[in-house]
Structures are given as C-alpha cells and as structure tokens.
C-alpha cells in the first residue's frame, strides 16, 4: 500500500492521474520518434532549453500527442458529381488532462503510395473540413473549417487546424469532423477523382501546454 501510494504521488508529479495501462502497443509515429531522438542527442546547452516550448513547431507546449482517427467513410450521397470521398474523422481527446491548453493541432492525411506523378489535370483535388454535426453530413452552404486545393504528390499532407479549432474550443471529450475531397477544376472528365482513393490514414497531432508549464509561464 505504501509503495502504491508513493507510485501515485510520483505519477501525479508527472502529470498523470493514474498509471497508464495500454491495451496494445501501437507503433510510435515517426514525427514523435524524431522529436524524442533530437532532444536526446542534442548537446546540453549551458542555457537550459525552454521545456515549455516545442521548437519544431515554434509553439508553447510541453506535451505532444498523435491521435489516430477512429472515424469511418461516409456515403458520398447523390448526385456524386465531383465529390470523390467523404469521411467522418473522429479523434478521442479524452486523454487531455484537466487544465491542458491546446496550442497547435495538425491534421495529417497519409496516402498509400509515394507517387511523384506530374500534376496532371486529374490530380488537382479540393479538401474541405466541416465540424461534424449529429445530424449527419454538413448542410450545403455551411462554411467549412478549412478549405484547400492540393495536388496529391506526396505520401502525406499536413493541414493546420489550430486557428479553426481555437474557436471550436475543443472539448476534453472528442473531436468529430467531416472530410470531403472533391475533384478540382480542370480535372480530366474521365477520372476526375484520380488519386483521392489512395487515402490510407488520417491522424491528428496535438500540442498542449500542461498545467505546470502554464503556471510557470504566468510567474
């Protein structure tokens, strides 16, 4: 009992309410592994680095998480027109501890293969991101959180959500969005959606400022 009391007080000082008991050992996202290695190998400067700042993104923060998308593909609905893909993105953010402040959120779309095809007409795609409403797909005319044209050339694409989410005041619970990818202008009539079907995975990288860092910054 004494040991577990000591353990829980140590966990609390590490900002954890209880000892995590992971169900499965998911692979470590490369971006986190690179950040960890960089900190481990960088020479210890005389001046202590600000451990309440994530230099890689130049934002305040001391906790970086990658949330896997738990959503599913939605029917494109009729008429299909230029809409290629509609997907519900669902991120369980319940892991955010009380008092953590979100300082950056980045959505990553990973595609199956790394193709450096020259951007042919069919390649230009448009991405729209809507807040998911319990009443299903976004109503027409509803303003998207994010709207981008992109050429699918790389294995993964990153989209900044920070500004959009700050208004949304991400609840500690979860984050649900609807992702729509449609054929851009000038797409080839034969295969307007070429390349959109290669979407392999989506994940959300979130940087937060823990309570201890926030208190320190106030001081």
């Amino acid at each position: 009992a004494e040991l577990s009391r000591q353990e829980s007080s140590l966990l609390k000082s590490l900002g954890l309410s209880a000892k995590p008991s992971p169900k499965s050992a998911v692979p470590v996202p490369p971006v986190l592994w690179r950040m960890f290695q960089r900190r481990k190998t960088q020479p210890r400067p005389q001046e202590e680095p600000d451990s309440c700042r994530v230099e890689e993104f130049n934002v305040p923060g001391n906790i970086v998480r990658v949330f896997a998308d738990q959503g599913r593909f939605l029917p494109e609905g009729q008429p299909r027109g230029r809409l290629c893909l509609r997907k519900l993105l669902f991120f369980n953010l319940s892991a955010l501890e009380e008092g953590e402040r979100l300082t950056m959120a980045q959505l990553e779309l990973q595609f199956h293969h790394n193709s450096y095809q020259p951007p042919g007409p069919g390649q230009v795609l448009e991405l729209r991101l809507y807040p998911a409403s319990p009443r299903g797909p976004p109503q027409p005319g509803r303003r998207p959180l994010l709207e981008r044209s992109f050429v699918r050339m790389h294995k993964s694409l990153l989209f900044e959500l920070s500004a959009a989410l700050k208004d949304g005041k991400v609840p500690g619970g979860d984050l649900a969005l609807v992702l729509e990818i449609s054929a851009g202008d000038g797409g080839s009539p034969r295969s307007p959606c070429a390349g959109s079907d290669a979407l392999a995975a989506t994940s959300l990288l979130a940087v937060t400022l823990g309570r201890r860092c926030r208190a320190r910054r106030r001081r």
């Binding site: 353990e7 590490l14 900002g15 209880a18 000892k19 995590p20 008991s21 992971p22 169900k23 499965s24 050992a25 998911v26 470590v28 996202p29 986190l32 592994w33 950040m35 960890f36 900190r39 481990k40 210890r44 202590e48 680095p49 451990s51 309440c52 001391n62 906790i63 970086v64 998480r65 990658v66 949330f67 896997a68 369980n92 319940s94 892991a95 823990g210 320190r216």
Partner: protein, 115 residues
C-alpha cells in the same frame, strides 16, 4: 541505483553523485516507450568552513559556515543542493493507447552548490 562504492574514498565535499533511475525496476516498462531509464543524479557532501570557490556557494552560505564552525550546535552547515538542472523527454502510451511525447523540466541534476 546509485554508484557502487568506489575503490577510493568518495570526496566528502558537496557535488553531484550518480543516481540511475530504471523505469523497468519499478514496473513501468509496459507504458513507458523511451527512455527505459536515465541518469537523474543527486547532490551529496559537506559544505565545510572555509567554503571553497568551486562549491558554487552564496555569500550567505559562507557566513553560515563561519557561524556553524563557531557554534556547531546552534547553526547547521549550509545544505548541498542542485543549482542547475535539465529537462528530459519521455515517450509513453496513455490510457487511450495514444503515443505521447512529454517534456519534464528539472529532472537531471547537472550542478550542486552550498546554500
């Protein structure tokens, strides 16, 4: 685990001493991905009169050692404490199986001093 007792007698003066924290020793290896342990160190040793310059001490500590040498029972020696620490980063799984990278400040003792 601290350093095994060295052949030569350890310096009695205040300085960082080796302390290795092994997460697997405390059964945390199933949720901490990396590191599996790290050198935390601690400060140990005396702050005797006259306080040598390398003991990184304050004027007050110099004064206190003088008073202590005149009146050992009345005033204790200054304490040997960390004066410079550095952070570490820990990669771990949280309860929702997300991978978390977290930076913790003041986790490694780099320098000790008399205070």
């Amino acid at each position: 685990s601290s350093a095994p007792s060295p052949a030569v007698s350890p310096s009695p003066l205040c300085k960082p001493r080796r302390l290795y924290i092994s997460f697997s020793d405390v059964g945390w290896e199933n949720w901490i991905i990396a590191p599996q342990g790290y050198l935390a160190n601690y400060c140990g040793g005396d702050c005797p009169f006259p306080l040598a310059a390398e003991l990184n001490s304050t004027n007050h500590a110099v004064l206190q050692t003088m008073v202590h040498s005149l009146d050992p029972r009345g005033t204790p020696q200054p304490c040997c404490v960390p004066v410079r620490l550095s952070p570490i980063s820990i990669l771990y799984y949280d309860n929702s199986d997300n991978v978390v990278l977290r930076h913790y400040e003041d986790m490694v003792v780099d320098e000790c001093g008399c205070r």
